[in-house]
């Protein structure tokens, strides 16, 4: 993977493309994420019902693929559905999967220019 690709996946997207966390149809928690980094942070503190709602609707994999354009992470998140995780187990598994990918992408960026 090139640093350009990693940079693209890690970018901050405009407000209208952000991920908005709901707990059920039409019930918005007030929590959103505009980048992969923010997404990891939100996974740790959003109502776990929201994680269950979006994972099993396929909303996470869709946003990661279509907005962040990270097909690899999208596939990994989709695979989590098979295990029927709920509650904090789901939070931990999803958090680990996305954090690992974030770390890998960040390491692709190369040295930070000052």
């Amino acid at each position: 993977m090139t640093s350009e690709t990693a940079s693209k996946i890690l970018r901050t997207v405009p407000r209208e493309k952000a991920f908005y966390f709901f707990t059920s149809i039409g019930n918005y928690t007030g929590v959103s994420a505009s980048s992969l980094k923010e997404f990891v942070e939100r996974i740790n503190d959003v109502n776990v019902k929201s994680l269950e709602f979006h994972l099993y609707r396929g909303d996470f994999e869709k946003w990661i693929a279509e907005v962040l354009q990270d097909a690899e992470l999208s596939g990994e998140v989709k695979r989590l559905q098979r295990f029927n995780f709920t509650g904090d187990t789901l939070r931990n598994q999803l958090g680990t999967t996305v954090s690992r990918r974030l770390k890998r992408l960040t390491s692709q960026l190369g040295p930070t220019r000052v």
Partner: protein
């Protein structure tokens, strides 16, 4: 013709209606397709009086429009009606409401004062998925929206418009 019973007058920027005007409006609210003759007969006045007063109230936009009330269930529509409460930053409430008012999915829209200022809207969608897509893509991203609570209507027990009445205290619900 308008003399003793009075006519449409401006009072504190509101149009003042007399008893006959109000009775005509009530008759129209019950059935706006009835003839001037039928209304006149019911109220004991000439059909020409009914005609003139209706035309005047249309001109003054007291009568805004005539419409058909459709029973969506009878035409097989499987649509969803939901009541949505949008909690906003008070500084942004007006702008959020203005944006929502432009959405065809929003049938009715109100700013309300509860424990905190919020916007309430009656929303119409083809399915639960399209309702969610509308709220996720067009409501949640609006600047100033703090959180949203939505209830899907499962059964309608009553839906009507207010009927006006008139007594010594004036025109009221």
């Amino acid at each position: 013709m308008e003399g003793a019973r009075g006519t449409l007058k401006l009072k504190n920027n509101a149009l003042s209606l007399d008893v006959t005007d109000v009775e005509i409006l009530r008759a129209l609210q019950e059935d706006s397709r009835q003839t001037y003759m039928a209304i006149g007969k019911r109220l004991g006045i000439a059909h020409s009086t009914v005609y003139e007063r209706i035309k005047k109230m249309e001109k003054q936009e007291v009568i805004k429009r005539y419409t058909a009330v459709i029973d969506a269930e009878k035409i097989g529509a499987r649509n969803i009606t939901a009541l949505m409460s949008v909690y906003t930053d008070p500084k942004e409430t007006e702008k959020v409401a203005e944006r929502l008012a432009k959405s065809p999915e929003v049938l009715e829209l109100y700013a309300c004062l509860s424990e905190e200022l919020l916007i309430m809207a009656k929303v119409f969608a083809a399915s639960q998925d399209s309702l969610h897509a509308f709220i996720a893509n067009s409501v949640a991203p609006l600047p100033g929206v703090l959180r949203i609570r939505t209830s899907i209507v499962t059964k309608k027990f009553k839906e009507t418009q207010f009927l006006i009445s008139n007594d010594s205290k004036g025109v009221h619900l």
